[in-house]
């Protein structure tokens, strides 16, 4: 780059002498234009330098723009292709290509730019499998890259990748993460990201994370989301009650939608007017009262922007009593928990039984829906509790108020008391699904208004048994409510008690809905039918036999449908969180992964815009031409001076 400067200076030094008569004009012109002259001189030098620079850049034939511009360059040893296979990735735009398909194309194109020996490892969100692949060209043909009805657990995917990298001693690596950035999948508020950030940061090798943000195409899409299905006994006989919600991503004028409600394979179509953003659909179908068997069905709407959410499945079983068992110290907490478990025993066919750790052997576990535990360890009853949970029961554990061991390998830590007039506030919770989810009409539970004076957290967790997920946390990040799957059942741990001195949970506005939801969950196993979401939990349930009722070859970890598992019907649908349109923004992701080398490439999919980079050497040739033209104009610009002369009129 010093060359044009040298040429320019040498040019200036080469001058000849001219004897000159009109010195007076020369002196005047020099005086008046010395500043302008200097500026012009520097501009000419700058334009010459730029022209040479652009020429060099054009000769280098660079790539720029979008995803490919980001990945072009030196290749690492290992590239992890992290693919979000959640149901929302099946949205299509004008190009009739889904977000997932577009992501695979971009992976392939990006890999095509890299030279050298690069190892490609595919990590997919549906099964959390991480395995090496032969290049990125044929990803679309792999079964591990096909569409699913599942959600994506991005923290878990990042964790799996990290484990693979450590186990396989990968060298310098890059994570190419393709996702539609759905907030429900990324769960950036989860404390898991802090741990991931530290663990990635501690790796000795260079790690770069390239996130390919594939914004979903803005095409009209209506989701059919099952809310509830159950058999109800009425005076006239048993009735199947099915409730679903039709949600529009582009609410506008009302539309009439043909909705097909099928009981098993027999369907009936009905026009439903969908107004605004969502419409509730409630159908009641008579069931022969002597028909005690569980059944299933589906609700379907016409195909639109995303084929994965146009059909939902439901099951219904026999009516059963919702029994819960309370094992707790005597006191206020036990009384409140008993009421919350069975607020209206006769009206709702519920009951809350009492027992003690020593009497667990006498319990009819097969008739229970939920175990509520607020005591020390179970001793010999431990195996019964675990078996109950694995069979589909729900176990809810409350702190004993003293540092002690608990059931299922848990140990309680110290009791903490908020100082003075302060209290522990719950500031974040899962509102889309889980025990603290919004109500059916979209209202939040009043979690934020809870007042917790005392809490007791866990000291130790048996991670071989289950991995806890936080459903709600206090301001200081400690969990208020945690849970985990254990077999086909679930374990939930609450870190405070509904008694005076501990919290105001006894008000019931949070406690009762939570306990009733957990009870309903546990009661499903008793009716011979269950509704759930597609996901890994089913694959990991340890069920010996599962059979797809609604199509061959389906997998409960990725495909929606009705399955039979251990004699029970299970309807699995797209998780409700997949319908949430909230997206993760770049600044949020950067905060969550602060300290890691992160590149965020925003890409728009499917609206006719192709997010591939292009060679931009023509741009540099054009810029070089402009620079030379500018230099020429600056050098010859004086020819454009208009001369004005006084006319001769003598």
């Amino acid at each position: 780059m010093a060359l044009p400067v040298l040429i320019h200076l040498l040019n200036r030094l080469r001058y000849r002498s001219v004897k000159w008569a009109a010195m007076m004009f020369l002196l005047s012109a020099t005086k008046s234009s010395i500043r302008r002259a200097r500026l012009r001189h520097y501009m000419i030098l700058a334009l010459r330098t730029l022209a040479l620079l652009f020429l060099l850049l054009a000769l280098a034939r660079p790539i720029a723009g979008g995803w490919l511009g980001a990945v072009a360059g030196g290749a690492p040893e290992t590239i992890f292709l992290a693919l979000d296979r959640s149901a929302s990735m099946e949205a299509v735009g004008n190009t009739r290509k889904s977000t997932r398909e577009h992501a695979l194309e971009l992976f392939s194109e990006g890999a095509g730019l890299l030279r050298g020996n690069v190892r490609y490892v595919l990590a997919e969100s549906a099964g959390l499998s991480v395995q090496e692949v032969q290049g990125a060209d044929s990803l679309a043909e792999l079964s591990l890259c096909q569409a699913t009805s599942s959600a994506a657990d991005m923290p878990a995917l990042f964790s799996k990748i990290l484990e693979y990298a450590v186990e396989n001693r990968c060298g310098d690596m890059e994570l190419w993460v393709a996702s539609d950035m759905q907030a429900s999948n990324w769960r950036l508020t989860s404390p898991e990201w802090q741990s991931l950030k530290e663990r990635y940061g501690a790796l000795p090798q260079d790690v770069r994370i390239r996130v390919l943000s594939l914004a979903p195409p803005m095409s009209e899409n209506i989701v059919v989301d099952l809310t509830d299905s159950r058999r109800t006994s009425r005076a006239s006989g048993d009735v199947l009650l099915v409730t679903a919600r039709l949600e529009r991503n582009m609410p506008g004028a009302s539309v009439v939608l043909p909705v097909t409600l099928a009981v098993e394979d027999v369907g009936e179509q009905e026009d439903v007017e969908v107004e605004g953003a969502s419409t509730w659909l409630m159908k009641s179908v008579p069931i022969a009262s002597d028909d005690k068997a569980a059944g299933w069905g589906s609700i379907e709407i016409p195909a639109d922007g995303n084929a994965m959410d146009n059909k939902c499945y439901y099951t219904y079983g026999g009516q059963a009593s919702e029994l819960s068992l309370l094992v707790a110290d005597a006191g206020d907490a036990a009384r409140i928990l008993s009421i919350a478990s069975a607020p209206d025993p006769k009206g709702m066919n519920q009951a809350c039984l009492r027992s003690s750790p020593a009497s667990l052997g006498e319990v009819e576990w097969s008739q229970l829906a939920m175990l509520v535990w607020q005591d020390a360890s179970a001793g010999s009853g431990e195996a019964l509790i675990e078996g109950f949970c694995r069979q589909g029961g729900t176990v809810v554990i409350f702190p004993p108020g003293r540092k002690s061991a608990s059931i299922l390998g848990l140990e309680w830590g110290d009791v903490e008391t908020a100082s003075g007039d302060t209290h522990f506030s719950v500031v974040s919770w899962e509102s889309m699904e889980g025990p603290l989810a919004r109500t059916g009409d979209g209202k939040d539970l009043p979690v934020a208004s809870m007042s917790v004076k005392k809490r007791q957290g866990l000291g130790q967790v048996n991670e071989d048994l289950f991995r806890l997920r936080t459903y709600a946390s206090y301001r200081d990040g400690r969990p208020f409510l945690q849970g985990a799957g254990l077999g086909r059942g679930h374990v939930y741990i609450c870190t405070t008690l509904p008694s005076k001195g501990w919290s105001d949970l006894a008000r019931g506005t949070v406690l009762v809905p939570v306990m009733q939801r957990l009870l309903a969950r546990g009661a499903v196993r008793l009716g011979g039918a269950e509704n759930g979401s597609v996901g890994m939990a089913w694959k990991a349930s340890g069920a010996a036999n599962w059979t797809s009722i609604t199509g061959e070859g389906k997998d409960p970890s990725r495909d929606a449908g009705v399955y039979q598992i251990d004699g029970k019907l299970v309807a699995l649908n797209v998780p409700a969180a997949e319908h949430d349109l909230e997206l993760v923004q770049e600044d949020q992701l950067r905060r969550a992964l602060d300290g890691l080398e992160l590149e965020f490439v925003d890409s728009n999919v499917g609206e006719g815009r192709k997010n591939t980079a292009s060679e931009i050497w023509p741009l540099f040739v054009f810029l070089m031409g402009m620079s030379l033209l500018g230099e020429a104009l600056m050098l010859s610009g004086d020819r454009l001076i208009e001369r004005k002369e006084v006319p001769d009129d003598q």
Binding site: N11, R12, L13, R14, Y15, R16, S17, V18, K19, W20, A21, A22, M23, M24, F25, L26, L27, S28, A29, T30, S32, S33, R36, A37, R40, H41, L635, G637, D638, I641, R643, K644, E645, V646, D648, D649, Q650
Partner: protein, 304 residues
């Protein structure tokens, strides 16, 4: 024509063509010899001008008897006295006149035009003198009509060398006072000086009733300033020099020159100076023909 044949700055063919034209003064001249130019005074000369009443003592041979026959009154014919033109050819011989872009220098071009004019004047019976100057008078030959005088002028033009710096205004002021009678003063210079000072001297000349004609000698390069590389400009009239990149300052230079030339034109017009710009690559015959014809056509009652 013999004088012209010996000088390389004279072309006999041009002289022959131009001799058909007459150099005329724009204003009446004063002179004791009858010539082709109108005299400022009325006298008993060849051409009848007007009548006046007879007064005792007038020469009766000028009485117009036809008028007497018609009017019974005696009237005297008044005649305009044709007299000779006195012309000073004033040539700037300072060092700046030595400049030559391509071809002829300003001085050589001025000499050619001045010499041709001198020849024409002598051959039409007018008196011509020569003044050469730089910052002072270098050579002065008073006006004369004699052909021998023409040789003196040409000899001086052959020998003169350009040197020194210019002070045109002072020389013109001195000449304005020195020339007692009205004269045609033709100045050949590049006039590289303050316009105001020059206009003062022009005004002085005009005040003294001289017919002032100015040939502003210029070279194209001095006006256009076209150079393709940095140049060290060495002043012809001083030891000063400067290095500059003409491409950088050209626009400013051209603007300065244009302002100056416009000032010269407008000032000359204001003071009734016959001003013309002459570039060294201009055809001098056309310049002179234009100069002569304009004067012939603009003069009232001039001979065709």
């Amino acid at each position: 024509m013999s004088e012209g044949a010996q000088r390389d700055y004279l072309d006999s063919a041009v002289l022959s063509r131009l001799s058909r034209l007459t150099l005329e003064a724009r204003a009446p001249m004063m002179g004791s010899v009858s010539g082709i130019h109108k005299s400022a005074t009325r006298g008993s000369s060849v051409e009848f001008a007007e009548y006046r009443k007879y007064v005792q003592g007038d020469d009766i041979k000028h009485i117009d008897w036809r008028v007497y026959g018609r009017t019974d009154r005696f009237y005297m014919k008044e005649f305009e006295a044709d007299t000779n033109l006195r012309c000073y050819l004033v040539i700037d011989t300072s060092k700046s006149m030595e400049f030559s872009g391509k071809g002829m220098s300003k001085f050589e071009h001025a000499r050619r035009i001045a010499a041709t004019l001198a020849w024409l004047l002598i051959h039409q019976g007018d008196a011509v003198g020569l003044v050469c100057y730089d910052n002072k008078l270098v050579k002065e030959i008073p006006p004369s009509r004699s052909p021998v005088h023409l040789r003196n002028i040409f000899d001086s033009l052959d020998k003169i060398e350009t040197k020194g710096h210019t002070d045109t205004a002072q020389v013109l002021h001195n000449l304005a006072e020195k020339a007692k009678q009205r004269a045609l003063v033709v100045v050949f210079s590049d006039f590289f000086a303050e316009v105001d000072a020059l206009m003062d001297s022009f005004q002085h000349m005009r005040f003294k009733k001289h017919d002032l004609a100015v040939f502003h000698m210029l070279d194209r390069q001095e006006v256009d300033f076209r150079f393709d590389r940095p140049i060290r400009f060495v002043d012809l009239e001083s030891p000063y020099s400067m290095v500059t990149d003409p491409s950088v300052i050209r626009s400013g230079y051209v603007k300065e020159v244009q302002n100056y030339l416009n000032g010269m034109k407008s000032g000359s017009r204001e003071f009734g100076v016959d001003y013309r710009q002459v570039f060294t690559d201009d055809n001098y015959e056309q310049i002179l023909a234009s100069f002569l014809l304009e004067r012939m056509n603009k003069k009232p009652g001039s001979r065709k």
